[in-house]
């Protein structure tokens, strides 16, 4: 139990460091920013505005005070879970993000399911038939898959399954059918890395001496494959997932844009084009915390499925 706490502690420190780094960077960048948020708020590019109006806005949003004070104020608000108000939507940032969260989480889960369905059979086949045609096929698919831009893959899928064959809906989120294309696109975008990793893992494990021992003990082949080999290859898979959760959140943004999926990605891209600073900052903070939180979960899961880590951690203490 002490171990779990120390792990949580480590992650929280990490969160704090990251948080300070990020908020610092975002604030410095804001200072440097060429665009003027005041003009954005007034939403007038061509109409001439009076300086009085601008001053009023500046005061209202606190832009006229020294940056350090703005920073301190913002920090203390964040600690109270107040991420400010969106300039465009005039709603609390946190509320906006939380509204969009379920859609993104749902898509992530859909993507993971698709990933497992694609990656596991491919890599198991490739590992069992190492250096035979199934292996070459899998490696070929993986390397081509890793070269295709995910949004282009999505476009192709839309083109064939929605426009040509009229099988699946293109945009939005509603029925289960709406999930298929975005999930598959996300799954396929992630699959190559996992196929490569799982295949190498499995090949290493299948050649390891403990598999040889299990064979020499006469344990049925299917049991060895399932309980000794695949089980063993799951450990790095979970670690890998923790490491790639960040790029997953990035990848999901593109896919949400492509399919007009009402998730966080769409929200943030619109915020960027509209220069909605509080929203951008809030998004960064939320995503950062999310990444750290998921990594903590991954740590705990790894500890559960890999007793050796627990042992080593204990020894290190």
């Amino acid at each position: 139990m002490r171990l779990v706490f120390s792990m949580i502690g480590k992650r929280i420190t990490q969160l704090l460091i990251m948080f300070l780094l990020l908020s610092f960077i975002t604030f410095v960048l804001m200072k440097l920013t060429p665009g003027d948020p005041v003009r954005t708020i007034l939403n007038v590019e061509d109409v001439s505005t009076t300086t009085a109006q601008e001053e009023l806005i500046k005061q209202q949003y606190g832009f006229d005070r020294p940056i350090l004070i703005q920073y301190g104020e913002w920090l203390s608000n964040v600690v109270q879970l107040d991420l400010g108000e969106s300039i465009i939507a005039k709603q609390p940032v946190l509320q906006l993000i939380i509204n969009r969260l379920p859609a993104s989480v749902a898509l992530t889960i859909g993507g993971l399911v698709a990933l497992l369905v694609i990656a596991v059979p491919f890599s198991v086949l490739a590992a069992i038939y190492e250096n035979k045609w199934p292996d070459y096929l899998c490696r070929g698919v993986a390397i081509i898959g890793a070269s295709i831009p995910s949004f282009w893959l999505g476009l192709l899928l839309i083109f064939f399954f929605s426009l040509q064959l009229n099988l699946l809906p293109v945009m939005g989120r509603g029925t289960l059918a709406h999930y298929i294309l975005p999930s598959v696109t996300l799954g396929m975008a992630m699959a190559p890395v996992y196929i490569k990793l799982l295949r190498e893992q499995l090949i290493d494990i299948l050649q390891s001496s403990y598999i040889e021992s299990a064979i020499a003990r006469g344990i049925p082949r299917w049991r060895i494959l399932l309980f000794h080999a695949i089980r063993g290859s799951l450990i790095p898979l979970v670690t890998m997932f923790g490491l790639s959760i960040g790029s997953l959140l990035g990848g999901i943004t593109v896919i949400e844009m492509l399919f007009s999926w009402p998730g966080m990605g769409e929200l943030i891209v619109n915020a960027v084009t509209q220069r909605d600073y509080p929203l951008i900052q809030g998004y960064i903070i939320v995503v950062g915390s999310l990444v750290v939180f998921i990594n903590l979960l991954v740590d705990l899961i790894t500890m559960l499925i890999n007793p050796q880590i627990m042992q080593e951690a204990r020894r290190a203490q």
């Binding site: 960048l29 890793a146 070269s147 831009p149 949004f151 990035g250 915020a271 995503v287």
Partner: protein, 280 residues
Amino acid sequence: MKKGNATLFNLPITTKLGITLVSFLLILIFFGEWIMPYDPFQIDMNNRLESMSHQHWLGTDQLGRDIFSRIVYGAKLTIGLGVITIILSVIVGVPIGLISGFSGGKIDAVFMRIIDAILTFPDFILAIAIAGLLGPSLTNIVIAIVLVRWIVYARLVRSQVLELKQQEYILASKISYSSKWRTIRMHILPHLIPTIIAIGAVDVGKVILLISSLSYIGLGAQPHIPEWGAMLNDGRGYFQVVPALMMYPGLAIMLTVLIFHLLGDGLKNRFDIRKRGLRK
């Protein structure tokens, strides 16, 4: 493990393919201007959305610009950005990794903490943040990616140095009174450089994907610039009418990234990098 002298002829087929394709890309980059039949920025509203023809090999886009010329022009831009990003990341990451791994102790711990913290922060999101705050542009995207990418090299170099430090020839070098710099030059760099080149090649491909993705959602290259991702974004509205508008830039990205993947894998095999030691 080590094969005899590798000549151009007994290299593995993937490497041969890789070298051929890379030379092809190099020609595109350096001689692109002579190949382009049209000015890639020339708008011609009389010839909008034309299909393939003798005049326009790959047709024209919604503003009548020649797609082939734009793709050729985009090659230089897209690949150049990818390569520059990686070179910058290497320049930042490698020394930090070397220092961190070689000195160990507190310096190492501090670097690792920072790296861990940044690592949780995905490059894509940081790119969004920077694009959002500084405004979308290719320069900002490159800055954003380098800010995160250097970590890959710092970590790679650090872990390699830590692994090499266990090797007894590094100890022997210390016992021989070799200076730290001499040990690094004689025993560490020869192992590191091939790895960095091979990983860097694959990474160029990854970065090209990343930049084009960001351009596609409008956070990278601005619409009129013939960066391939931006071209796809540009043609989004006409996609159902003229699928070719989506086809060629996408294919160009895919083939280019594929080439860098093949090149990287070929180099990995050539340098015999595959996770040494893990396989028994």
